[in-house]
């Protein structure tokens, strides 16, 4: 099996990409039906990684991508999303239920007037997607042109495959309590008259993020988005753990939320939602004050997982070499300076529909590492 061999019709695939700023998950449910979750660009080519990968496999993106899901609108989950969605013309667009309110769309419309051309943000990507939806004729969608607004304990799809196996996909968040707070949070981000025009910020809490539960045959994956823990039991991971309406069972593959940060850690998730021998996957994040995951995050996650795999080595990537004069000035001027993005690492997991989590085939590409 080579990198560009597509999965068989009766084979589940989960591929996680993460170049250091950004995250994207590509899922094959079976029978050539694909789901793409979040988007980032390959730093070397600036092409959305989902487009590159699906093209390499020979997938017809317009026909075979059934859903495009954006878990939340932060820059590191939405890079190139509009470019990918332009090609996925048959896809249903799913986003957090927190993003369907008037305040958020007003913020997007303000983005049209922000006058920036180079410094685009999640605001621009989302606005372009909604404008595309607005112009797109109704497809295999529920009433209206979308987007589909995901919220906790909501089944997003259920399929029976030619292999006889079934698959289902659920949203486990955002919780209802979060949706109310989101309206106020977006209202605060809409600029006031007289305010200086800046790049519109994407600074809302990670608790707006969609968490997905994807079961194909006997293999289940919990995709944690960037959901963080909350002090309020009605929000964050505690709300998911305590829900009686979520699908039962345990997942054997865990996309660790928010790059493994402590803020997103909820010990009950490991006890209630995950198998004891869980394969944990994560992407690094170089944009914060501290690169994630930190060494203590890695230790904590390794202790709980049967294996922990990251799409790139944590801790940042090698600096770009410039002229001596420039390098000297950087050292003299900046308190800290580092490259955020490296190569686009990929973790690929495949399993036949009848196989259990003990039969997962894990492959690492382009710098992905077993921690």
């Amino acid at each position: 099996m080579t990198y560009s061999s597509p999965p068989a019709a009766d084979e589940f695939e989960l591929s996680l990409f993460g170049p250091g700023k950004g995250e994207c998950i590509v899922l094959h449910l079976g029978d050539g039906q694909w789901i793409v979750v979040d988007s980032c660009r390959n730093p070397a080519t600036h092409v959305p990684v989902a487009s590159e990968y699906l093209d390499a496999l020979g997938v017809d993106i317009a026909r075979d991508v059934r859903q495009f899901i954006i878990t939340h609108w932060h820059d590191d989950h939405i890079g190139g999303a509009h470019e990918f969605f332009e090609r996925a013309t048959g896809a249903e667009f799913v986003c957090s239920g927190a993003l369907g309110n008037e305040e958020f769309v007003t913020l997007l419309r303000c983005g049209r007037r922000s006058l920036f051309t180079n410094t685009s943000s999640g605001v621009d990507e989302f606005r372009y997607i909604l404008e595309s939806l607005d112009e797109r004729p109704g497809s295999r969608r529920i009433a209206g042109r979308g987007p589909t607004l995901a919220r906790s304990d909501q089944r997003l799809s259920q399929l029976t495959h030619t292999s006889g196996s079934t698959s289902e996909e659920w949203a486990l968040s955002p919780a209802n309590a979060t949706l109310t707070l989101a309206v106020r949070a977006f209202g605060d981000l809409v600029p006031d008259a007289g305010e200086y025009r800046n790049r519109l910020p994407t600074q809302t809490a990670n608790e707006l993020s969609v968490v997905l539960w994807v079961r194909v045959g006997a293999v289940t994956a919990l995709l944690g988005g960037d959901l963080e823990q909350s002090n309020d039991p009605a929000r964050g991971w505690t709300a998911i753990v305590s829900s009686s309406r979520r699908p039962q069972g345990r997942a054997s593959v865990f996309k660790v939320p928010h790059h493994g940060s402590r803020d997103a850690d909820c010990p009950d998730v490991w006890n209630a939602l995950l198998e004891p021998s869980t394969t944990s996957l994560l992407t690094p994040f170089g944009c914060g004050r501290l690169p994630l995951p930190t060494p203590s995050d890695v230790s904590r996650l390794k202790a709980r997982s049967s294996s922990l795999i990251c799409t790139a080595p944590p801790g940042g990537t090698a600096s770009i070499r410039r002229t001596r004069a420039v390098d000297r000035t950087i050292r003299e001027t900046a308190r800290s300076f580092r490259t955020i993005e490296g190569g686009t690492g990929q973790i690929r997991i495949r399993a036949k529909h009848g196989e259990t989590s003990a039969n997962l085939r894990v492959e690492l590409f382009a710098g992905a590492v077993l921690l």
């Binding site: 730093p43 008037e102 410094t119 004729p137 008259a193 025009r197 770009i320 900046a334």
Partner: protein, 190 residues
């Protein structure tokens, strides 16, 4: 036509001019008729030979050789401050602390380079830019060689926040109206 004076300090700036080696006049201020018009024509690239001749006639020392062409020798061009750009980024502020701020950078010199992250001192900004320092503010960070009018060269780092017009109430109201319309269209069954 208003005339200007060539002061001793201006003349010092022409450190490579052969005329500088000539014996300096006693007076520190030398009125030269037509100099301002001449400088304007040099700046606009329209200097004519009679302009040059008029200025040359006013100088206290002879020109090395007659200049009849419209081409202006380099040594006669007035020296201007110069900035040789070595590296430039476009940055976006992500967080502001007590005396520093964090930003992500996009390389404008080599756009194929990956994104970078920097923490800079607020003291690097001008006083007016500090008032605009807020998450989302876009700035340009330039590194290069600055050559002054006296010919001195120094390596410099310049950070300037991009200035854009303020939001107006009408724009925001328009955005609200568009949002309501867009949501209505997206929610309506076709």
């Amino acid at each position: 036509m208003s005339d200007i004076s060539l002061t001793a300090s201006h003349r010092e700036a022409h450190d490579v001019d052969p005329l500088e080696s000539a014996e300096a006049p006693d007076a520190s201020i030398l009125p030269i008729p037509g100099l301002s018009a001449f400088l304007r024509s040099v700046k606009s690239g329209e200097a004519a030979s009679d302009d040059l001749q008029r200025v040359a006639d006013a100088l206290p020392v002879p020109l090395p050789e007659p200049c009849t062409s419209s081409f202006i020798p380099l040594r006669w061009r007035p020296r201007m401050p110069r900035f040789e750009l070595l590296q430039q980024w476009e940055g976006c502020v992500v967080a502001v602390g007590a005396d520093s701020f964090d930003a992500t950078l996009r390389d404008l010199t080599r756009p194929s380079n990956p994104a970078e992250r920097v923490e800079l001192d607020i003291a690097e900004l001008s006083r007016s830019d500090r008032l605009r320092l807020t998450p989302g503010a876009v700035f340009y960070w330039s590194i290069g060689y600055d050559t002054s009018v006296t010919g001195q060269t120094s390596r410099v780092s310049r950070i300037q926040i991009r200035r854009l017009p303020r939001w107006t109430g009408a724009e925001i109201q328009e955005a609200r109206t568009e949002a309501v319309e867009m949501l209505r269209r997206l929610r309506s069954p076709e």
